[in-house]
């Protein structure tokens, strides 16, 4: 197979297989031509038989029809052979495609082998071990850093929360009396619902501010 493809690069790119395909195709063409010939003579004989019948020569017409029948049989046989030849051509062409596939796989395989030759297992193991060590070290560092921070945060949070609670309460107390003053101008019935809304808004906003 290697020889087959190496040959293609040289002046003559026609292979033995190509010649075989050509020969088969040529035979197919000959059968096709033969069929054309028979078809034409069939048509002629049919007309001739009609003519003979008109002239009352039934015996000759019968003879012609018998000949016609025989030729039709030949035609169907030729059709079968034609099919065989066509299949042969397809098989040959497909075999060539398969060869190309195998060749492609071979090239890929050698390329892969060359790449593998560059990488030794020991080296990879060493690299992997070192990487693993590095990752572990990193994890240790991370653990140390996160643990110290966590302790501080816990303490901070409880204190901060308490402080914030105090602040928010003071805030609400401060703001509550102020709101009626601002909203006094509009109509009286709208007073109560607006007060509630503004309070809930403040409550939602405050925790966000803390988190940040």
């Amino acid at each position: 197979m290697g020889i087959f493809f190496a040959k293609k690069k040289q002046p003559s790119r026609v292979t033995e297989q190509d010649k075989a395909i050509l020969q088969v195709k040529q035979t197919r063409d000959k059968i096709k031509q033969y069929q054309k010939k028979i078809e034409q003579s069939l048509e002629k004989e049919r007309l001739l038989a009609k003519e003979l019948l008109k002239n009352g020569r039934e015996d000759r017409a019968l003879l012609l029809l018998r000949k016609k029948k025989y030729q039709e049989q030949v035609l169907t046989r030729a059709d079968g052979q034609l099919e065989n030849l066509e299949r042969m051509v397809h098989d040959l062409e497909f075999a060539q495609v398969e060869m190309k596939v195998v060749d492609g796989l071979k090239t890929g395989n050698t390329a892969l082998k060359q790449l593998h030759a560059l990488l030794s297992i020991d080296e990879i193991e060493k690299v992997m071990d070192e990487t693993r060590e590095g990752i572990e070290k990193q994890r240790e560092i991370d653990e140390i850093l996160t643990s110290t921070f966590a302790v501080e945060e816990e303490i901070d949070e409880s204190e901060i929360e308490a402080e914030l609670d105090a602040l928010t309460e003071a805030d609400i107390n401060e703001k509550a009396p102020e709101i009626p003053k601002d909203v006094l101008l509009p109509d009286v019935p709208k007073e109560l619902p607006e007060e509630e809304k503004s309070r809930t808004k403040e409550k939602i906003q405050e925790p966000i501010a803390v988190m940040a």
């Binding site: 790119r13 026609v14 190509d18 395909i21 050509l22 020969q23 195709k25 040529q26 063409d29 062409e93």
Partner: protein, 175 residues
């Protein structure tokens, strides 16, 4: 075989006599050239035999009783040869091949067909190309084998195809 639409010159008697005046003659020859190519395109013929031209309605207009003399036919064929549309088949220049596409154009047309139909890398017989069912819609269907071989040779020179010929097998492989 489709009927050709004759140009007005065809029924103009002086058209069948080679004109002495240079300018007129050039125009006359140009008109003949395109008429010859058109005629051969429509009738799908390829060979001109100078000895038999008058059996052909192209050089013999029976309705006005005019024939183009064979010397004039030769002049026209020589002119066609200069533009790559004809070439003599023998040394005495009695038989000529006429191609209404130049050989390079034919080569391109066939190669384009091969490309569009996935015939690159496969083998085709000449019969398949000019008579096969796959090409019945193509312009080169019914093309003269000699013209086909010559146009394939232009493809061969361009490394796009290779003609295979052994024993009595003839075919072409496209690349």
């Amino acid at each position: 075989m489709a009927e050709i639409e004759w140009p007005w010159q065809y029924s103009f008697p002086p058209f069948f006599t080679l004109q002495p005046h240079a300018d007129t003659r050039a125009k006359q020859i140009a008109a003949w050239k395109s008429l010859v190519l058109e005629y051969y395109r429509i009738t799908k013929q390829a060979v001109v035999d100078v000895r038999e031209i008058h059996t052909n309605s192209l050089f013999n207009n029976t309705s006005i009783n005019r024939k183009l003399p064979s010397e004039a036919v030769l002049v026209i064929l020589e002119e066609l040869g200069k533009s790559g549309n004809a070439s003599p088949l023998d040394k005495t220049k009695q038989r000529w091949l006429v191609y209404w596409h130049t050989l390079e154009e034919w080569g391109d047309i066939i190669y384009n067909w091969a490309q569009e139909n996935g015939f690159i890398g496969s083998v085709c017989t000449f019969f398949e190309l000019t008579q096969g069912e796959d090409t019945s819609e193509q312009e080169f269907h019914g093309l003269d084998t000699e013209v086909l071989i010559r146009s394939l040779k232009t493809l061969e020179a361009a490394k796009k195809a290779e003609i295979i010929s052994f024993d009595d097998n003839q075919g072409v492989k496209f690349f």
